[in-house]
């Protein structure tokens, strides 16, 4: 089955889960055992799918625990980065849609340059987060690279802070209302940022490696 078909099947599964107790259905689906057989390249689209759901159960954690419990921090951080990238893509879509719907001063707020430029920055952060996460989803889940995990988590955390701030600024008060969906993403982005090592923790680790290697800056980036 192609990657696209698997992600579609996985998305349908998540969207159809019984809200009160999703776990038996997930168990039956076989997806929870995926990390034992699949490469991280194959798991990346699924992490995006989880991130793009406003109310997904903690599927990636459950998958990781099937592989190793406790979950190695590098694997947990990598999966978190993928989920954050998916959530950020959803935040961008919501924000563009809102900016083209909400009208003030007689036009859609997305027609104002000040708003356009903020959303352009949001889009940049989303792209950076996605490719940074993707770069960590390489090889076997049990052998995930600590340095790639670090680079991914650092960049996704930065994007989460910058991107969420812009999304909320564009949405105004409705963005923090319980009824509106945005906070399901931005609160999860905050929670994931603080899970499995924050930006400074991973940066110290990555920086320690960079400074212990006798390589130039660009070669270090290539060696990640």
């Amino acid at each position: 089955m192609s990657d696209d078909l698997i992600s579609e099947q996985f998305a349908r599964l998540l969207d159809g889960l019984p809200p009160d107790d999703p776990w038996p259905t997930l168990q039956e689906s076989g997806f929870l055992d995926l990390l034992a057989e699949a490469s991280l390249e194959e798991v990346f689209p699924l992490a995006l799918v989880v991130g793009a759901r406003a109310r997904a159960p903690n599927v990636l954690d459950a998958m990781a625990k099937r592989l190793a419990d406790p979950v190695p921090r590098a694997l947990a951080a990598t999966l978190a980065a993928g989920e954050m990238a998916g959530a950020l893509e959803a935040v961008q879509a919501l924000t563009v849609d809102y900016a083209l719907t909400r009208r003030q001063f007689g036009r859609e707020i997305g027609k104002f340059q000040a708003i356009q430029h903020q959303i352009a920055v949001l889009a940049q952060e989303v792209i950076a987060a996605r490719i940074a996460a993707q770069a960590a989803f390489v090889g076997a889940p049990a052998e995930v690279s600590e340095h790639r995990a670090a680079a991914a988590k650092i960049r996704c955390n930065q994007a989460a802070v910058r991107g969420s701030a812009i999304a909320h600024a564009v949405h105004g008060a409705i963005g923090v209302s319980d009824e509106f969906v945005l906070h399901h993403y931005t609160r999860r982005l905050r929670a994931l940022s603080l899970s499995h090592g924050g930006e400074a923790w991973w940066a110290a680790k990555l920086g320690d490696w960079a400074l212990s290697e006798a390589q130039d800056f660009t070669s270090l980036a290539r060696a990640l």
Binding site: I119, R155, L206, L211, F217, L224
Partner: protein
């Protein structure tokens, strides 16, 4: 539309270019200080360009029929990454190789292509960009320089300014008005391939805040240009100049301008020892950012290699990349400010001083942040 940027790997045959380039640069730049190398694409050295061209490394992606090597955009990525990371003085041929020759190949006559492009690839024809004027910067469609038809050619009047190495280049590709008035905006503009030795052309260097003379003011005082100075179609200047800007913005050169400084700082820390956590954190953050940007730039390179025109995606990389390049001098300077007097090597201080002063230009050259964000907003369907 804004396409998703996916990871792209450099093919082995293009990656193989890296080692010979590194060896060449290690030898050529051994005696050049970090502060001097920090000029990178503001560093002008015609001898260096000539030596690079002899290796076949000027016009790498251009067709072999015109003196190029017909290599892929990935080979060019490897070459440029190494040139900029090492701080090679590439200014002499930079513009000619990146945008002028590709533009001439797209719009020029066969005679123009034969006359100019092989000379660019030999490292003998240097170009400058004739876009900005005293009253036209980001609002490029407001240019006032004007060429009128005269017997056997064109008569050109006007001024271009902030022209990088206009006082040293052999040629300029200039956007000028050939019909109508400034109110006609992007209608009535044309591009000219101007030999800067023509009578009536004078170029005066302008000193920058670092004491260098990297840009200039170029005057056209009823300069007479031959008929074949017209590049492409009369009146199609706006479309052509946008194609030129797409060439200018699509390469990987918007990430590496402060790399020489990062390397000088990392080497200083490695030599000094007793690392603090704050230093480790900064090094780690910079590396994570570079890694993401490099992967984004490679993804854009893959789009170029697939024959696409990734204008919006390249704008994303340029805006983020220049922000990264610009953040580095301040971040590193702040760390160095905590060191005891007299401890930090003078060369490292001179490097941070040069880049600290000049880094505001990183997000100006090739289109300001505001222009790029407008392009991205259009790609998102907001405009």
């Amino acid at each position: 539309m804004l396409e998703t940027l996916n990871l792209a790997a450099i093919p082995p045959e293009d990656e193989a270019l890296r080692e010979p380039v590194r060896a060449f640069l290690a030898e050529r730049l051994a005696a050049v200080s970090a502060a001097r190398r920090a000029r990178t694409w503001m560093g002008y050295d015609a001898d260096f360009t000539k030596a690079l061209a002899e290796k076949g490394w000027v016009g790498l992606t251009l067709p072999q029929d015109y003196g190029g090597q017909a290599r892929s955009p990935f080979a060019r990525f490897v070459l440029i990454e190494e040139l900029l990371a090492a701080g090679a003085p590439v200014a002499a041929h930079w513009i000619a190789e990146r945008q002028s020759a590709p533009l001439i190949l797209r719009y020029g006559t066969e005679e123009q292509k034969r006359r100019i492009v092989p000379a660019v690839c030999r490292g003998e024809a240097f170009f400058c960009i004739g876009m900005s004027e005293p009253n036209s910067g980001s609002d490029l469609a407001s240019v006032r320089s004007r060429a009128d038809r005269v017997d056997g050619g064109w008569k050109l009047s006007g001024t271009k300014i902030w022209t990088t190495y206009g006082h040293k280049a052999h040629f300029m590709i200039a956007l000028v008005r050939t019909s109508g008035a400034p109110e006609d905006r992007n209608n009535g503009l044309s591009q000219f391939l101007i030999d800067l030795k023509a009578p009536g052309v004078t170029a005066r260097p302008i000193r920058d805040l670092a004491g260098d003379e990297h840009f200039s003011e170029v005057h056209f005082d009823d300069a007479i240009l031959p008929e074949d100075a017209l590049l492409g179609q009369e009146g199609a200047g706006w479309e052509q100049v946008n194609a030129e800007l797409a060439f200018e913005r699509s390469g990987p050169e918007r990430i590496y301008s402060s790399t020489v400084l990062v390397d000088a700082w990392l080497d200083y820390l490695r030599g000094r020892g007793n690392l603090t956590d704050a230093e480790r954190v900064l090094a780690g953050r910079l590396l994570a950012e570079l890694s993401a940007l490099r992967n984004m730039s490679l993804s854009v390179t893959a789009m170029l290699a697939a024959g696409k025109s990734p204008v919006v995606e390249a704008s994303v990389v340029k805006d983020l990349g220049t922000g990264f390049e610009q953040s580095i001098p301040t971040l590193i300077a702040d760390h160095l400010a905590g060191e005891a007097d007299g401890v930090v090597p003078a060369e490292l201080l001179a490097t941070v001083e040069y880049l600290g002063g000049m880094c505001p230009t990183f997000s100006l050259r090739g289109g300001t942040r505001e222009i790029l964000r407008g392009i991205i907003a259009r790609g998102l369907g907001l405009r």
